[in-house]
Amino acid sequence: MGTNYHHETFPWKHIVGFILSLVLTFAALWIAFSSGLATKAILVGIVVLAVLQAVLQLFMFMHVTESDSGKIQTINMAYSFFIAIVVVAGSIWTMAFVL
């Protein structure tokens, strides 16, 4: 596999990532259940937290900076975004008639 493969003595990165992920998740839970905000504000809040957590996990767990080839990472990410947009926007467009 990759040439820059090595073991750290203690997986600090993973621990910090894990704790931050928990914090972000509980923050989302709090916003949804106990913040008392308007529905729109709640939706915006949890979406922002979700995006933050996705980025966090890409760096903390998913080795996004450790690849041999930036090209593969770029294609991979671009395609992921494309699929995510297709699934979300496509579903909303398709289901708009019942909303």
Binding site: M1, M95, A96, F97
Partner: protein
């Protein structure tokens, strides 16, 4: 749930199934004990991480599931042969078409394809195993326990009965109160996790473990299709995972994602199901295209025509497969703009598919064709699949689809693409690669009997269904009245189904016959093959390649043979080979998954939680596992190679 409802009661067919299941289990236990094979079973199969053995287990499971799904199909045909039949009641019929569809797609077509790709892909790219052998074993066992969990539903607790698509609101608690659809949600979830891991495993294997010299554009076509299939799996299966999780919450914990009341949106299930479901059908068809490409090229003795166009069209099909899903529910009412968009994208898929058809035809042109069984399946695929494809384009026209939707026209269409595409490919691949798996050939004579019986039976069974559909017969109806005039064509269809059943029996006999009397393959290259798997011995040595081959051309082994060298092995160059150790943990974790799943199905949460603890324990033990595998010594490699490479 009361204990009296635990076992399904009341139907003679079910009691017969109970008896046969008990007898089979007793028979297996007796044979294993009598011949003292328990240790062999554990050491050689249950704990193996060898991609070839895992592939064989996938294929055995797939053939068993083909039998189960086939019996379901024959029961349905028996019920529909004449009007007003009383053979099955409506509930039993619902259960049978549900299990038929789910089993044939997820537990027959998928594992058959995944089994072939397990056996062939590492050999084709000149690798010694997959990237993550331990994960590969876990993938298989998760698929297997998922399949078993789904299969026991019809005798324990009750079968799912809402169709293989399990549309809400029918599949919700309100209209399906039993445990049947819990089985659907949980069993598919467990085997789906296995499939997702397979996708990741083979993507990494193909991208990272190719032999030196094998650039992407020198990969055999089958490997190319598997690479793209893995991308489809990785992007499509998470949608199913999420949809099934929401379904599970709805059914077990009374959430309201897909219900009619309380803000639920039942049609969203159909939407999510098909966002996964459409790429899913390409997950089973693209590898089939790969198999046909290999077989056609080998038996026409020509390089595959238009290799680059083939690659381009696979990528094109994969891309389009994610933007066509609404064509499964044009009649839901999404409106003209939505339907037009998805109608056009669907028709566009015919373009890259047409390119591939012409590439196969041009590969055949002026080829020196040998009519082996594998080649017969591939040749029959072309016209039969085209019939399925053209009727598919008819269904793609949104306005016309209001007529065809959920009629037998649709049934005929998707059986024409799935059987003539995927099932023919599985049989072709089985005959073609059989010597690599077991060291002997499948008998050609019996193979041709299977081919003609099954292929003619298939057309006799499904071609009339196009007309039945146009005459108004709809999907999933369990009986019909005599005055409708559907009887003659239904009788014809049932005759065809019986022929297919006989073809399947001949195939099973062929497997037995060939194991006893089949021609041993001493050469390792019985078909005069073109790609690297034919450079190995038959059956393939545990480590696949004593030395990793150098690839100089697209048809790597063909090039070696033409340059007069063959695949030379210099004994001086041998080095100890690093191999992964066997592990029983994937099997045991999967057993825990089975009990966790069973607990969820019956809402026995204590059982589910205890089993979940064992799953997590298995993961923790794996994390602290320091086993780095073992080395095969040069002496042992020399001994094995001298035994198998007499001619070289």
């Amino acid at each position: 749930m009361k204990w009296s409802e635990f076992f399904v009661t009341g139907e003679p067919l079910i009691y017969a199934a109970d008896v046969s299941i008990v007898l089979t289990v007793i028979g297996i236990v007796f044979i294993l004990t009598y011949f003292k094979k328990w240790k062999w079973l554990w050491d050689e199969w249950l704990t193996t991480v060898d991609h070839k053995k895992i592939g064989v287990m996938y294929i055995i499971s797939a053939v068993l599931m083909l039998f189960r799904g086939g019996v379901d199909a024959l029961l349905m045909r028996a019920q529909l042969t004449a009007p007003n039949m009383k053979f099955l009641d409506s509930q039993h019929y619902n259960e049978i078409f549900t299990t038929h569809g789910t089993i044939m797609i997820l537990f027959m077509a998928m594992p058959f394809i995944i089994g072939l790709m397990n056996i062939v892909v590492p050999l084709q790219i000149g690798a010694r195993d997959v990237a993550y052998p331990y994960l590969n074993a876990l993938s298989f066992w998760l698929f297997f326990v998922g399949a078993m969990l789904f299969n026991i539903a019809f005798v324990i607790g009750g079968s799912p009965d809402a169709g293989w698509t399990a549309y809400f609101p029918l599949a919700g608690n309100e209209f399906s109160p039993g445990v049947g659809n819990n089985y659907y949600a949980v069993a598919l979830q467990i085997s789906g996790i296995g499939t997702l891991m397979t996708g990741i495993n083979f993507l990494v294997t193909i991208l990272k473990m190719r032999a030196p010299g094998m650039t992407l554009m020198r990969m055999p076509m089958f490997t190319w299709t598997i690479l793209i299939t893995c991308v489809l799996i990785i992007f499509a299966f998470p949608v199913l995972t999420v949809a099934l999780a929401l379904m599970t919450f709805d059914r077990l914990f009374d959430t309201q994602f897909f219900t009619m009341a309380n803000g639920g949106m039942s049609m969203l299930w159909a939407n999510l199901f098909w966002i996964w479901g459409h790429p899913e059908v390409y997950i089973v068809i693209l590898p089939s295209f790969g198999i046909f490409s290999e077989v056609v090229s080998t038996f026409a003795r020509k390089r595959l025509f238009g290799y680059k166009a083939m690659v381009g069209s696979i990528v094109g099909i994969a891309f389009l497969s994610f933007i066509v899903w609404v064509h499964h529910f044009f009649t839901m009412g999404a409106g003209a703009a939505v339907n037009s968009f998805f109608s056009i994208t669907t028709m566009a898929i015919a373009i890259p598919t047409g390119v591939k058809i012409f590439n196969w035809l041009f590969t055949l042109r002026k080829g020196r064709i040998r009519f082996t069984t594998a080649m017969l399946w591939s040749l029959a695929f072309i016209p039969n699949f085209v019939i399925g494809g053209v009727t598919g384009v008819m269904l793609a026209m949104a306005a016309a689809d209001y007529q065809y939707h959920n009629s037998y026209f649709l049934i005929a269409h998707f059986h024409y693409v799935l059987i003539a595409g995927t099932v023919f490919a599985c049989f072709a691949g089985l005959h073609y690669w059989y010597p690599k798996m077991f060291g002997h050939m499948l008998n050609e004579r019996l193979g041709k009997w299977t081919f003609w019986l099954f292929m003619i039976g298939f057309n006799v069974c499904f071609f009339p269904m196009y007309f039945l559909g146009l005459m108004g017969m709809t999907r999933r109806m369990y009986t019909y009245s005599a005055g409708l005039g559907w009887t003659p064509l239904n009788v014809v269809a049932s005759v065809g189904a019986a022929l297919m059943g006989i073809g399947f029996l001949v195939l099973c006999y062929n497997i037995y016959y060939s194991a006893r009397y089949g021609e041993r393959d001493m050469t390792g290259d019985p078909w005069d093959g073109r790609t690297l798997e034919w450079a190995t011995s038959s059956p393939v040595a545990h480590y696949n390649f004593a030395v990793i081959p150098e690839v100089k051309d697209l048809d790597a082994y063909w090039e070696m043979k033409k340059s007069g060298k063959g695949f030379e092995m210099d004994e001086e160059k041998l080095k100890p080979i690093h191999m992964p150790s066997n592990s029983g943990r994937p099997f045991l974790i999967s057993i825990a998954f089975f009990f966790a799943g069973f607990g969820l199905v019956f809402k026995w949460f204590t059982l589910a939680i205890i089993a979940a603890v064992f799953i997590i324990l298995g993961l923790i033990l794996r994390s602290f596992d320091d086993d780095d595998g073992y080395y095969i010594s040069v002496d042992e490699i020399k001994r094995t190679e001298r035994l198998t490479r007499k001619e070289a």
